[in-house]
């Protein structure tokens, strides 16, 4: 546990000093929240409560996308950065176990992603309240809250799991970045379903999505732990 905590602290210190990572983590949430608020404000002027609720619902989807996207920036850099700075070998030469390394790297991406996502959600609600004059409570339903708070950790975990597998198997940084974008697929598919209004966001749907995601997470994490071996990482990266 001490070693995982040491790794987490190091990862966050490094991320805070890396403008690219900070940009990746901060800009997209701010952009999406700003965009949502702008649309809500425009709609509010039309005195159309239904349209306002629909827009609000659409905006809520961003908070299911962010937990899958934010960890990518941190997770890919977390392995790629080690290789680029030639720090991977000294790190692997310590008593840190493979599972500690995996958990440290994964948590270093998942925790900030969730905090940023939920903070962005809070910011969005406050901004809606201030700018629009009220939160459309008919749109902010318990299933949506369950999705934002319950599915986010699973989406982030899946995203990080995929990224870690790709980063440890890929032969170079560029390939790792490119292939890691597949990690956001589980977040995109439900968004397409919701946005086409083919079905309403219900507790059952969120539970179903959560169940599928939980199984997918378990599978990808099981696979990731199996392939995330120091020898593989050390000898595959060129």
């Amino acid at each position: 546990m001490r070693r995982i905590s040491a790794l987490l602290r190091k990862e966050w210190r490094e991320s805070l000093r890396n403008k690219m990572v900070l940009f990746g983590v901060a800009v997209l949430p701010l952009l999406l929240v700003g965009m949502a608020i702008y649309m809500m404000k425009t709609e509010a002027g039309l005195d159309d409560p239904v349209g306002e609720a629909v827009l609000f619902n659409t905006s809520l989807m961003y908070f299911l996308l962010l937990p899958a996207v934010i960890p990518l920036a941190i997770a890919v850099y977390s392995i790629v950065g080690e290789k680029e700075q030639s720090t991977l070998e000294p790190l692997l030469a310590t008593p840190l176990t493979d599972i500690e390394l995996f958990l440290g790297k994964a948590l270093a991406s998942v925790i900030p992603a969730l905090l940023v996502n939920w903070a962005s959600f809070g910011l969005f609600l406050i901004a809606t309240l201030v700018v629009v004059g009220g939160i459309p409570l008919t749109a902010l339903t318990p299933p949506w809250l369950a999705a934002i708070f319950g599915l986010s950790p699973l989406l982030a975990l899946f995203s990080v799991g995929v990224t870690m597998v790709i980063s440890s198997r890929a032969s170079d940084a560029r390939a790792a970045y490119q292939f890691s974008s597949f990690a956001i697929l589980p977040a995109i598919i439900p968004l397409i379903v919701y946005s086409t209004r083919r079905t309403l966001v219900s507790v059952g749907l969120v539970a179903l999505q959560g169940g599928i995601l939980a199984v997918a997470c378990a599978a990808i994490l099981f696979f990731a732990v199996r392939v995330f071996r120091r020898e593989q990482i050390l000898t595959r990266w060129k």
Binding site: A6, L88, P90, A93, R230
Partner: protein
């Protein structure tokens, strides 16, 4: 402290290390020399429990490879060829991080101790990436030592350093030897290996030769004395007729005499030359540079391949 028997590593069809046998004693500075791509780094990675051998076995710091690799990694320190520092973190934070990973009770105190030891305390807050190459190398060595490892693997510790920084690293290696640490030194700097190492191994996928530098020289070239004469004396070599002389070469007023024990036999040799009327300018024992022996042996190895 390190034993290896038949240590072998393949990468697909390529043989990187083949049947390596070696024993390195506690407190020994062991030089591991070979050309680029010879398998030195792979050997270090196997012995430091970073990668597994394809076959063979090894024991490092009393722990058999593959039984408790985590224990091996806590007992060895590794300096990789590149310093491998977190460039955005300060020198202090770099060491604190590794001290934490090594389970040190007071990581900050350990970091401070080593920064002071290496003369980096004043630069502790600077990002590692902003330090000079020599400072970065010192910091990397400090990182490899901060958990007081029993075995230290140093890969090209003075590569790219200015003479002053290189000398301070060599002095450090000598200090570590005096503290009974076992040092496994991979280097291309043959003069450095000659000076620092108790024994050397010449390696190119497999072990070419192993021994004390002086003994290896003697076995290959014998021990020779160079006598410079004030003026050439043709035929003096044949006239010497001393029983302990193994062979003699004479050219332009210089005699190269192969002897068994130059320290004991040189006085008799000089006396005999003076008796024969030679005017002696200088007498010195000829020491074949390690580089020459290395190139000879590696050339032979290339022909074998």
């Amino acid at each position: 402290m390190i034993t290896a028997r038949g240590l072998t590593r393949r990468f697909g069809q390529r043989m990187a290390v083949e049947g390596l046998d070696l024993d390195v004693a506690k407190g020994e500075v062991f030089g591991f020399l070979g050309p680029n791509g010879a398998g030195k780094t792979t050997t270090v990675r196997m012995l430091a429990a970073l990668i597994a051998p394809t076959s063979g076995e090894a024991t490092v710091a009393g722990v058999r490879l593959g039984t408790d690799n985590q224990a091996i990694r806590s007992k060895v320190g590794v300096l990789t060829e590149a310093p491998g520092l977190y460039k955005r973190l300060s020198a202090f934070d770099n060491l604190v991080f590794f001290a934490r990973l090594q389970g040190e009770r007071d990581p900050r105190a350990v970091a401070e101790k080593y920064l002071r030891l290496f003369g980096l305390w004043e630069r502790r807050g600077d990002a590692a990436g902003s330090l000079s190459k020599g400072m970065r190398q010192k910091l990397a060595i400090a990182r490899a030592l901060l958990h007081e490892p029993q075995v230290i693997f140093l890969d090209e510790p003075t590569a790219g350093l200015d003479p002053e920084a290189a000398r301070s690293v060599r002095e450090l290696i000598e200090a570590l030897r005096s503290r009974d640490r076992t040092i496994f030194l991979c280097t291309h700097n043959l003069a450095e290996a000659d000076r620092l190492c108790d024994r050397i191994a010449l390696f190119k996928t497999r072990l070419v030769t192993l021994g004390q530098p002086e003994a290896l020289r003697e076995a290959r070239y014998g021990r020779r004395t160079l006598v410079r004469l004030a003026r050439p004396m043709p035929g003096i070599g044949q006239a010497l007729e001393l029983p302990f002389i193994r062979s003699i070469e004479s050219k332009d007023g210089e005699l190269v005499v192969s002897l068994k024990d130059p320290a004991a036999e040189n006085p008799s040799l000089v006396r005999r030359l003076v008796e024969l009327g030679a005017e002696i300018q200088s007498v010195e024992e000829l020491r074949v540079p390690l580089e020459e022996m290395y190139l000879d042996l590696m050339e032979g190895e290339d022909e074998t391949d």
